[in-house]
């Protein structure tokens, strides 16, 4: 019957209004690009967002969409997914929306392992409110609200997610088209809460925040691409790797007797390893890819299984007898 969907089918008629050069454009393009490949009817796809630059996202997707209130998208998505488990529900949030005002909802959605695809655009700044520091801004950051430098210790989105025992935790970069597409597809294929941190450049208020992993000239020496079952190798000439020195990871140069066999092999099912990699900060390379992926029961499936079980064991609800329960008597 219908012809196969294309990227264009997922482009809404609304003019995109992010600042020219914003990393959000690249992310939108990759999401629209993978949509036809997911095999989900457009009407069964829902994008839910909170408040912030990233949260304009649903307006540009020709699917069902709900631009909600600051920080609450995971909670609203939870109500939808529980009652409509057949829908594909995506949450688009940012570092302020998801980790500051909405931190509580994010951690509980991840902890419950409700089957939501959560994309957190991390630009380490408040863009929509014009340039205050965010919960992922580094200490010392000078912004409009921190003229003397921020003294506020930041969150690391990956380790926050791992701390909730989220069942899928990954990181990608706005300009890494192929890597971002692959990561989003993996996130979509996962059953349960998928958390993807997308490093996103705000060229107006925090330009170049992720240059070390996005600048083609230098990124190879700063980006560690995680691949399940493969040793942790990086560098322009793939000549560096991560080796354990006792309990501590260290960067080693390959050669001079050091081979890939000495390196840590990535294992997506190892939560401790994921935590260790999640804590990598310069001068260690920045890992991108899937830190952790494990199968555990989803909240939405468990809730609906209880409902189905109740229906099976008690029969469908019968209003007349329900109203007539308890301490009753007849007056004639």
């Amino acid at each position: 019957m219908a012809t196969a969907l294309t990227r264009k089918d997922f482009v809404s008629d609304q003019e995109v209004r992010w600042c020219p050069g914003c990393g959000d454009y690249a992310i939108l393009a990759q999401v629209q690009k993978i949509m036809p490949e997911l095999g989900v009817p457009r009407e069964n796809t829902v994008f839910i967002s909170g408040i912030g630059c990233s949260s304009r996202f649903p307006y540009y997707m020709n699917t069902y969409g709900f631009h909600t209130i600051h920080g609450r998208a995971p909670a609203i998505a939870t109500g939808l997914k529980l009652t409509r488990p057949e829908l594909d529900v995506w949450v688009v949030t940012g570092d302020g929306d998801g980790l500051s005002i909405g931190g509580n909802h994010l951690i509980h959605a991840l902890r419950r392992n409700i089957d939501l695809k959560i994309l957190l655009f991390n630009n380490r700044i408040y863009g929509l409110t014009k340039g205050q520091y965010s919960p992922t801004s580094e200490v010392g950051k000078v912004t409009k609200s921190t003229p003397a430098g921020s003294v506020d210790f930041p969150f690391n989105p990956i380790t926050v997610a791992l701390g909730t025992h989220a069942s899928f935790v990954a990181r990608s970069v706005d300009v890494e088209q192929k890597h971002l597409q692959d990561t989003l597809k993996r996130a979509h294929a996962h059953r349960g809460a998928s958390f993807v941190e997308i490093l996103q450049n705000c060229n107006i208020f925090n330009d170049g925040a992720f240059n070390d992993v996005s600048d083609k000239a230098i990124k190879a020496d700063h980006q560690l691409v995680l691949e399940h079952g493969k040793p942790l190798v990086f560098g322009k000439n793939r000549d560096k790797g991560i080796r354990m020195n006792g309990m501590r990871p260290e960067v080693v140069a390959l050669g001079n007797g050091v081979t890939e066999k000495d390196l840590v092999v990535h294992d997506e099912t190892n939560l401790s390893l994921a935590f260790m990699l999640g804590h990598f900060e310069p001068p260690m390379p920045t890992p991108v890819g899937v830190f952790y992926a494990a199968s555990r029961p989803t909240y939405d499936a468990a809730v609906n299984a209880q409902l189905a079980e109740a229906r099976k064991s008690q029969g469908p609800g019968e209003l007349r007898s329900l109203l007539r329960r308890g301490d009753t008597w007849n007056v004639k």
């Binding site: 839910i48 307006y59 709900f66 909670a75 109500g79 939808l80 509580n104 109203l323 009753t328 007849n330």
Partner: protein, 630 residues
């Protein structure tokens, strides 16, 4: 007339009581209050006595009054828990101003409650609770049992612990377990004293303690021992009987406000054919609705205990977006937290019911005590112009109709609706004439499915509500959100004139609900008179009784009790203007009063109480009398 399943005589005969039966004195009505430590099981005893009284055919009303602390230190004033029941052979409107019978399990319970007991009232005391230590904890410097301070009452001192212990001795239970049977001894004694049918109690004990047969047996023995103690000892000269009341025929159930609220939502779900989704965060006194609904999964009903109040309402909005009936339940502090999300539901025009089971504030206030001070918050407690329909239940059983009506309006008008009840209704109980499920009003759900001409904000001409177009419907993909949106398309719009139009359209939509509000029923003089008493919510019974009493004395006083608080009924202004004086009675500083003065420019006066306690009938009567004289 009600037919008790088992008469007191049968019990007495069955228990082997011998000899001549004591005389039974008939009285029209009693107000009895059970009071003890919060661990003494007085709520349970009270509720069981209530069931017995309902089964005896009396009309009833109850008022539980318990401390916020789960277990305040034993014997202290803070730990006193009370339960009051009014049972009568006539129609009952309230739990009663002053008890004529007080059960006090310890000195603290006596101290807290004695001032309410009627002169010459019956005082039943657990004598063994009056130890030096307990007297000191309650702040008594001398023992009221011996210092003649109780001389104006009929005092019955009973050694409850000793009698209970001897009744269950053979079972070999430890002291703690034995002590926990004392409430059933007392209940047994009162069941004899008021000649109650007892089968409901024995059935309850058998089912409640099914898994612990020795505890079951102990409670049964304690209960029977209490009953027989009344019959066989010299302490009581006679028993009392309260004949069945004239009650409309039908099938009755004893119901609390919170249970009725929960059932109203279930009924609305069944009648609309849509699943119910409750997103809620535990809070006193609303949690029982969550508990209740969590047991009805097969309907299907989703209950989601959210991470906080905000997620409670937000998840309900998400469920409504998906086509379920989204509801959230809370009390005052939770309402504050939900305000922003409720505003979102106003803006995106999705159906949602927010139940605020009001409690005494501000802030944490008195969580277990009722108040009506959230009305103006329900009206105006959001930023921007965001009108919401508000309905308020007036009795525990009325919570069913109001919950049902709230869902009906929410769906018909695609709007959040606020349902106001309070702690007094939530935990209070009354007989409920169970409605015929088939005869409940229709709740029609029509999802938009046709893509031809679909626009998210194309409104129904009559109701002005927008279509409910749910994800999963091919061809209707669209986006909604909190940003100001364009008429018809719903696209983001900053057009100044469009914004004003949309604000006014939503306001007109809500105001239009007045079309279907039934005409006001005036109790008293529909054509007008000296004074109209206006009320809303749980004050219903008290106000009706006060007006009934004054009318019996020839006063030209009438009563109107509102269910719809926003919009107000369209004939309300006309009704108000027929009376020389208008008085508004509320458990707040005058919130409906402000609305009436503002909307109708009528110089109404207030009758207000902010003590976390319902009005007494006598208080309202004297306030009305002052107004009539002044």
């Amino acid at each position: 007339m009600a037919v008790p399943p088992e008469t007191a005589q049968q019990i007495a005969q069955g228990s082997g009581a011998s000899g001549r039966r004591k005389p039974v004195e008939t009285r029209p009505q009693f107000v009895i209050r059970f009071a003890g430590d919060s661990g003494d099981g007085m709520q349970l005893a009270g509720m069981q006595f209530t069931t017995e009284s309902a089964l005896a055919g009396n009309d009833i009303a109850t008022l539980p009054d318990f401390p916020a602390e789960i277990r305040a230190p034993a014997g202290t004033l803070a730990g006193v828990s009370g339960f009051q029941l009014n049972f009568s052979s006539q129609q009952v409107f309230t739990p009663g101003d002053e008890p004529s019978v007080l059960v006090a399990m310890n000195p603290a319970a006596l101290k807290v409650n004695l001032e309410d007991l009627k002169p010459n009232g019956v005082l039943i005391i657990d004598k063994e609770g009056f130890t030096d230590a307990n007297l000191k904890k309650a702040g008594y410097t001398s023992n009221p049992l011996t210092d003649h301070s109780l001389d104006k009452f009929q005092v019955f001192e009973i050694e409850v612990s000793k009698l209970t212990t001897s009744a269950v001795r053979e079972l070999g239970l430890n002291t703690r377990a034995v002590n926990r049977c004392r409430n059933f001894f007392v209940l047994g004694l009162l069941s004899w004293l008021f000649q109650r049918p007892t089968k409901s109690v024995t059935d309850y004990i058998e089912s409640r303690f099914k898994k612990t047969p020795d505890v079951m047996e102990a409670n049964l023995r304690a209960f029977r021992a209490g009953f027989n103690y009344g019959e066989t000892t010299e302490i009581f000269a006679s028993a009392y009987e309260v004949k069945p009341a004239e009650i409309a025929p039908g099938f009755y159930r004893n119901i609390t406000g919170n249970t009725a609220t929960a059932l109203g939502f279930v009924a609305a779900s069944v009648k609309s054919g849509r699943p119910l989704f409750l997103g809620s965060y535990p809070i006193t006194p609303a949690s029982d609705v969550l508990h209740e609904l969590s047991g009805f999964k097969n309907f299907p009903i989703y209950t989601f205990q959210a991470e906080d109040e905000i997620a409670g309402v937000a998840s309900a909005i998400g469920a409504a977006f998906g086509g379920s009936i989204g509801i959230t339940t809370t009390s005052g502090p939770g309402m504050n937290l939900k305000a922003e999300a409720i505003g979102l539901a106003v803006k995106v025009e999705l159906p949602l019911v927010i139940t605020d089971i009001q409690r005494a504030g501000p802030s944490t206030g008195m969580p277990t005590k009722p108040e009506q001070a959230d009305l103006l918050m329900a009206m105006y407690g959001r930023h921007g112009e965001s009108p919401i329909p508000i309905i308020a239940a007036s009795t525990p059983a009325d919570c069913f109709d109001c919950a049902y009506e709230a869902v009906r309006l929410a769906i018909k008008y695609m709007t959040p609706v606020i349902l106001l009840t309070d702690g007094h209704l939530a935990n209070g109980a009354e007989p409920w004439l169970v409605p015929d499920a088939d005869k409940l009003p229709e709740i029609k759900v029509e999802f938009r499915t046709d893509p031809n001409g679909f626009m998210p904000y194309l409104r129904d001409e009559e109701t002005l509500s927008r279509p409910w177009a749910i994800p999963g419907t091919p061809g209707l993909e669209h986006r909604i959100g909190g940003l100001s949106s364009e008429h018809l398309t719903g696209n983001v719009s900053y057009s100044p004139s469009n914004n004003e139009m949309m604000v006014r359209l939503r306001a007109r939509k809500i105001a239009g609900i007045a079309r279907e509000i039934p005409p006001i029923q005036v109790f008293g003089d529909a054509q007008g008179g000296d004074l109209l008493l206006v009320g809303w919510g749980s004050t219903y019974g008290t106000l009706r009784e006060a007006v009934t009493n004054l009318r019996a004395k020839g006063k030209s006083v009438s009563h109107v009790h509102l269910r719809y608080l926003n919009p107000l009924p369209s004939d309300f202004g006309d009704v108000l203007r027929r009376f020389k004086k208008v008085m508004v009675a509320e458990m707040n500083m005058g919130q409906l009063l402000k609305m009436i003065r503002a909307d109708y420019l009528i110089d109404a006066v207030g009758c207000n109480k902010i003590q976390g306690r319902p009005f007494k009938v006598s208080e309202v009567e004297s306030r009305i009398m002052r107004a009539l004289e002044g």
